[in-house]
Assembly symmetry: C2
Homo-oligomer: 328 residues x 2
């Protein structure tokens, strides 16, 4: 893994400072509610500072296609809302106690409120899309939400059977992660242009970026620093989520070793055998392999941008590098 200079999101966002501030106001406004409990929870949500990569992608995609406008803001607001909804549900599902350095919604208000707040944000987000009266927009969004839940459900299915190969892995991460990232790019593009070539280029960019993003996420589960990522090391293994580093190692091991590792994964719920599994992945260079694959997808993402003028691509290219190099 070669080291490159550090890239920060702040650096990438700098040229869009005014627009992102406007987006934050937009988002805050859209979250307001007359229902006191909803208002209380959304105010809390605003304190959980996320990376806001998705709204940034909407903005950058709009910019490269002609310029940011009211529809781009609306699009950014609605994807961030849908993303927030899925995170809240994810935390219920994973019984996560923390999110972005603060206690999770389910930790503070219990599962009941968390499930309903997710539903509320999901429908509120889709209402914004309806208000925009753009069917292409809506089609993309609803299909994406559907794919996200399908991807998660496919992963649970595979996880329970401990039966996963590279093909299923890529299908799962494409559905559960790349679909929304790609939707961000598509929505940003559509808010600024009708040119289907440009839109398609950004959809491709987003799909490949999303896959690179998820592989990197899965690598961080093996190699990240808990203090920085905010998640325990090997969390996926404990949940029996078999991701690319382990899939690769399993594909290279002989049947006997394979079976022995599978047995260890089955018993890994409380963290037993964790070190053995990590050593096994190291032995077959599962991380290095995965990083190379992520780099390939990042490369494809950049290639998809080739129809745009080189000087306009800088921010999206930097964001691609950031996705690979980030440590959380």
């Amino acid at each position: 893994m070669k080291k490159t200079k550090k890239i920060s999101l702040t650096e990438i966002s700098k040229p869009l400072q005014a627009e992102l501030t406007a987006f934050n106001l937009h988002f805050k406004e859209a979250l307001k509610s007359k229902v006191p409990l909803v208002d209380l929870v959304t105010k809390y949500l605003l304190r959980q500072k996320g990376k806001k990569i998705r709204p940034l992608l909407v903005m950058l995609s709009a910019q490269i296609c002609g310029g940011i406008n009211e529809r781009s803001f609306r699009g950014a607001t609605l994807v961030e809302m849908l993303h927030t909804a899925t995170l809240i549900h994810d935390d219920v599902v994973d019984e996560a106690k923390e999110r972005r350095g603060l206690p999770s919604i389910n930790a503070v208000w219990k599962n009941k409120v968390a499930v309903l707040m997710g539903d509320y944000l999901l429908s509120r987000g889709l209402m914004l899309a309806v208000e925009s009266e753009d069917f292409d927009f809506l089609r993309v969004i609803t299909a994406s939400v559907k794919r996200m839940s399908e991807g998660e459900l496919r992963q649970i299915h595979k996880t329970r059977k401990l039966d996963i190969d590279e093909k299923s892995y890529f299908q799962i991460i494409s559905d559960k992660t790349a679909s929304l990232i790609s939707t961000c790019c598509e929505i940003g593009a559509r808010s600024a242009t009708d040119d289907e070539n440009k839109i398609k280029a950004l959809v491709d960019y987003g799909e490949n970026l999303g896959i690179a993003f998820q592989i990197k996420d899965d690598i961080l589960d093996y190699k990240g620093k808990s203090k920085i990522t905010g998640k325990p090391l090997g969390g996926d293994i404990k949940e029996k989520k078999i991701t690319l580093p382990l899939i690769h190692a399993l594909s290279l091991a002989d049947e006997k070793e394979r079976q022995s590792i599978i047995k260890k994964i089955k018993k890994s719920t409380r963290g037993n055998n964790l070190q053995d599994i990590l050593n096994f992945v190291d032995k077959y260079e599962g991380i290095e392999f995965s990083y190379k694959v992520a780099e390939e997808y990042a490369g494809k993402a950049k290639e998809a941008l080739s129809i745009f003028e080189p000087e306009t691509r800088t921010s999206l290219e930097l964001l691609t590098d950031f996705v690979l190099l980030r440590n959380k």
Copy 2:
């Protein structure tokens, strides 16, 4: 409470037998998925036989407005899907182990799958609405899903503070129940006519019917037979949901008695004090009062139909009576 002759849903549905069979096929088809776990769960869902009041309302509303067509089927399918999604999430939220005589989704597949399946059905339902390319349709649906979660969240808020009066109660049940019932009527009507008077009449009918429906539901919690309703008697009290029968009794009691009952409700989680609270409601005729209010709303629902020819109203009128007289 006067006794009238028994009305069954089968009787009301009889004239629409062919259409309801077609709807069932439509619904089954729409639930199919390439994701094995999704397909497994939806097949299970089809075995949980619900009352299917909502699709029936779509059909009857379409019929009275001119006739059932492809769009009515699509509308019926999508409301039943959204309703199913909210039931699945409700069961997670209430930790319910049974639904419609079978173990609940969370009981069989755990919360994780239940939360995601709810999200899947929600987005799948909304995708159907998007495919219909009708903004009025979509506006109604997304607003309704939002109101449902808002109503539930408002109820939780009030429940936690044990602070609820008639006004809040009606706002809550209008949002959490009447909104979708009214949406069913609106969608059915819109699938068959452009006449805004007819559409408005059915929206009013649905809103009033929905309120009557929820009051009756709340009465069944006090007076129903557990074996028939499938829910434990006094379940709402245990969850500290203060509904109309109790609100009425509390409004008539003096401050001292009121405080003593509030104290008992606070301690009622495991069913202690349940009999005292039921006696208190009886003393102030909370059930009788609530039934009278439900009858008033049912009356308003029927009145809303007055713009239609009398001979076309029979089924919707019968359905209104059924909502009041049902014992589950």
